[in-house]
Amino acid sequence: MVEIVLESSGLTMRFGGVVANDNVNLKLQARELRCLIGPNGAGKSTFFKCVAGLLTPSEGQIFMRGQEVTGWRPHQIASLGVGIKTQTPNVMDGLSVRENIWMAARRFHSAVEARERGDAMIDRLALGAIAKTDLGQLAHGERQLVELGLVAVGDPWLVLLDEPAAGMSAEDVARMTEIIHELTRTAAVVVVEHDMQFIRSIAETVTVFHQGAVLMEDHVDRVMADQTVRNVYLGKKA
């Protein structure tokens, strides 16, 4: 029996009259890599925010490693060992790369150990040259990478990434892909993504959102080949 690390049951989110998520049931196994895709407004980001604790769902429940976490606040969820990266780079612009990563590591380790782990993470991301630079002065791709480092340095067992590849160069995307694969050795990873190219390169199982509900859930190749999916989502591009 494989451990279920994340489960949503009957998750529904309404904003006034708009139903952003409608009865979403989703299960994620340990060390699984799952991509959530769907056209704009399909509800994948809302789902992401509910899971991350940034929104409280109107109905339904969320479980992490069997524990109910519905309505928990983001810091409580993160404290469980969940790494979260929001859509826009959410970093501390006035602080250096090293200070940023140190803060993330400090949550789970002593100050000294946090520094060692932070330095190791900087090496792993090959950010040594800019370790002392303030985040505000870095390029978009570098900031995304640093944020991924913030997430990874806490040794999470569940990682939630909202559009990690958005606006990045091909080179950065390659590095990002590598890191995500590395993460899946120890953690289950949920990636909300637009970029089909990127999804093809990393995905195994894909969940397709459409009009707030789950339309389909299958291996990436079969999803890509599916006619309904093509109609709602890919149809525009094909």
């Binding site: 810091h75 612009d93 006035g94 303030d134 806490g154």
Partner: protein, 343 residues
């Protein structure tokens, strides 16, 4: 990564010892004492606003609360040691309760401003209305707008007849400020302090890392209030009377101005801003051509418009440009540290 703690302490001690020794040759110790007290009050807001990003419009409330707590306790106990402790604890407790209410309610910026301002006004109005004889705490009459005079002033602990006053009181306050300054330095170098700066930079990110932002802000708010309370108690001893004007809006406004002018995100800025502006006000008070308030207001407007970072960061920026090349390694280190502080 940072300059060694010991070196920082040594510098602080040497510089402040020289200043404490030399200053009385320039300004009278009576005036100096109040400048030091204001410096401490400035530091209290500089800590929570400059490093924690919490803009409190009512720092004067904690100052006043500290002063009143001291006065009331001193009348009741007839000795100053316990009242001094209470003057720190009462405002801190009050701030913890108020802070918990605000920060767990996820109030930000404007709304935080409104609540702190309103709470200050409540205290002001309440204290102002307590002129009647029915408002008594123990042996102390609150006295309404007349304030509370005639309480036991600072004495050597355990010996109520050995007063600390005059020049001795000046040295006492100066040492107190140095100690508070060092404590603030330690706090800012600790993990708690560094994460507080992180909260100022990006609250959401810190929460997503798993830190309880509301709890941390509440604690920082409480620490700020404790320092303000201590300053209040020292002020009560200096003035030998406490009046509701301590809670007044202009008092809170002034603290904010000190921080802006001195420079946010520095430890020294608010202290220098407070002492400098208070001294300027003192000098201006001796003339009557131009109104004092007008100048204070003008300074605030001009600083917000033209030098929003304040004097100390601007000056150290200038220093950096002029002397940055010499001893590059060392300068680089302090520059990095400074940037880490105020972004």
């Amino acid at each position: 990564m940072q300059t060694p703690v010991s070196k920082d302490i040594l510098t602080t001690l040497v510089v402040s010892a020289i200043l404490i020794w030399l200053a009385p040759y320039v300004i009278g110790t009576y005036t100096l004492t109040v400048l030091i007290i204001y410096g401490m009050l400035g530091l209290s807001l500089g800590l929570i606003w400059g490093f924690g990003g919490i803009l409190c419009f009512g720092q004067g409330a904690f100052f006043g609360l500290g002063a009143y707590t001291y006065a009331i306790a001193a009348i009741n106990f007839g000795e100053s040691t316990l009242p001094m402790v209470l003057a720190v604890l009462v405002p801190a407790t009050f701030a913890l309760l108020l802070g918990a209410m605000m920060f767990y309610g996820r109030l930000t910026d404007v709304y935080l401003g409104v609540i702190t301002l309103v709470v200050t006004l409540i205290l002001f109005k309440f204290i102002n209305s307590t002129a009647g004889p029915q408002y008594v705490i123990g042996k102390a009459r609150l006295g309404g707008y007349n304030g509370i005079p005639g309480f036991q002033t600072l004495n050597v602990p355990g010996n109520p007849d050995a007063y600390i006053w005059g020049d001795a009181y000046y040295y006492f306050c100066a040492v107190a400020l140095v100690i508070v300054f060092l404590l603030v330095t330690f706090l800012l170098r600790s993990s708690f302090g560094r994460i507080a700066v992180g909260i100022r930079e990006n609250e959401v990110r810190i929460a997503l890392m798993g830190y309880d932002v509301a709890a941390r802000k509440t604690v920082l708010f409480g620490i700020g209030a404790a320092i303000a309370g201590l300053a209040g108690a020292l002020f009560a001893n200096w003035g030998e009377i406490v009046t509701p004007t301590l809670f007044n809006m202009p008092q809170s406004a002034e603290i904010i101005i000190w921080c802006i002018v001195g420079g946010l995100g520095t430890r020294l800025g608010p202290i220098l801003g407070a002492a400098g502006l208070a001294y300027m006000k003192f000098l201006l008070g001796q003339q009557s051509t131009i109104d004092n308030t007008l100048i204070t207001g003008l300074i605030l407007v001009l600083f917000v418009l033209f030098l929003p970072k304040g004097v100390v960061p601007a000056f150290s920026g200038l220093w950096k440009i002029s002397f940055g090349r010499r001893g590059f390694g060392k300068m680089h280190d302090t520059r990095r540290k400074r940037r880490a502080r105020h972004g």
